[in-house]
Symmetry: C2
Subunit: 298 residues, 2 copies
């Protein structure tokens, strides 16, 4: 099952830590190194055995690595990639785990021109409202959608290796362009976050005493890291704003029929929404455990 | 622990069925009767032992009952109460489980004038996106907020008995006016439902293949019964529309700073929302298992 000799994870939080745990559980690499910004996180990651060895600089950490994964917050990825693409050994494969792809992949491909390494963009769509390594787990990617990006410049062998890596971690791999990715995640991830933050922000604190399961689930992701999500929204601004427009249209239609007291009109809009949500539920419950094969997506 | 001799539940779905199961588990009544609209539901409820005996008419079902609970969808409550308040035995206590209270309690109090029974409004804030008796469970009300309404016309002994009943079922009882109730639930329950339905309705179906945990939780309640929720929204229209305005204000503020590319502005609004959501999480995790006592709320 081994796919790589040494994998280096830069940024070992919930995602990076879970990658480390999953690689080790599945035996996908001989060694897993981590690069840290804080010593305290390095200690926690070693204690959780998320990495075999920790480093405080990119240069040391990626030495000899044949797969390098940048799992920092999206705003730090480019900065880290600048060093990585310069110092990675010949033929190394570099990927990331950023929630937006167009900006990252464009920049990374520019850096690739002068590099000995290959870059392929990734976005494992797993995680939770928590972002620290304490919440990492080895099954975080099991059955999760995992997007790998392909552009005219993407090296096909590197793409296959990255796709197989996420599959090896249990991910449900889809290959698409960075543009398609950003449009999709704006709709199914960034928009729900905007809405959840707005809901949690809007409700007067004294009312929370009566809040029950509906409020709890609808706003769960509003507990996510504000810096992380500000980065994501800003690096995907146009697509996020377009997604918001789509949401507002449906929302305003509901309010319109409600204001008129039009029972059948309200029922019709709620039914359409329920149908879609139920389809999703059934799909995800019976989700094919086997990932799409790379040949199909090409 | 017995509080009543015979309790009759009219409308045995998720809520009514769970009330029956919980009464029997806690030994709060000698007999639990159910009134049904469909024979098929009667069979299911008997199979689940949610009631001891089932009836197809209100008149038969409430005979001799000292507590009658109307657990039908909110649009049917008044119609059912018309029969109940006429036929209930002298001194019987009548309550409901409707999600909106002003309309129900106003009408019920008019009916009370010519009745031998006492009416007290209730809203156990438990439930899920499911509405059938198959999903009923005896611990549905454990730790759930449960609102009991009080007006100038409410009989104090009846109020105490109803409050103690929900406490006996594990509910976290709060007493408030129907007006306060409707304003609160518009914010913490009806608004999240409007938003969840809008999100699920707005997202193009083909995108759902990539949807993950964030979308799943944020839209869970969009799988709820469209008729039930159209009723709730329409019977609490003004408060729901006011709650929506509050939501829109926060939402538009986020979009405004995002459009400007104002990172600090976005972070500030997300932080404020996260803080509120985290407060709620902590509150609900450490929620005092003991209910507010009735004397405190009076």
């Amino acid at each position: 099952m081994r796919q790589f000799n040494k994998v280096t994870i830069i940024g070992v939080g919930l995602i990076g830590g879970s990658i480390g745990l999953a690689i080790k559980k599945k035996g996908l690499a001989k060694k897993v190194a981590g690069v840290f910004r804080r010593k305290s996180t390095l200690k926690k990651a070693l204690a959780r055995k998320a990495v075999d060895k920790g480093y405080m600089t990119v240069e040391e950490g990626i030495k000899g690595a044949d797969l390098i994964i940048v799992a920092t917050p999206v705003s730090k990825i480019i900065e880290v990639l600048r060093k990585v693409m310069k110092k990675a050994r010949r033929g190394a494969i570099v990927t990331d785990a950023g929630s937006t792809k167009k900006l990252v992949v464009d920049r990374a491909e520019k850096l690739s021109r002068k590099s000995n390494a290959y870059f392929v963009g990734s976005h494992p769509m797993a995680g939770s409202e928590h972002s620290s390594v304490e919440f990492a787990r080895d099954n975080l990617f099991e059955g999760s959608p995992c997007i790998v990006t392909k552009t005219a410049r993407t090296n096909k062998t590197a793409l296959k290796k990255v796709a197989n890596f996420w599959k090896g971690l249990g991910g449900n791999v889809k290959v698409m362009t960075p543009r398609q990715h950003d449009r999709s995640v704006a709709l199914i991830s960034h928009l729900p976050h905007i809405v959840a933050f707005s809901l949690a922000g809007a409700i007067p604190e004294k009312e929370l005493a009566y809040a029950a399961e509906g409020f709890k689930d609808t706003t769960r992701v509003a507990s996510s890291d504000p810096h992380l999500w500000a980065d994501i929204f800003l690096t995907n601004k146009e697509d996020v704003l377009n997604a918001c427009r789509l949401f507002e249209k449906y929302y305003k239609n509901i309010l319109k029929v409600l204001s008129k007291g039009d029972y059948e009109g309200v029922v019709a809009l709620l039914k359409k929404a329920k149908l879609k949500r139920d389809t999703f539920k059934n799909k995800s419950e019976f989700r094919n455990p086997k990932s799409e094969t790379i040949s199909k997506s090409e």
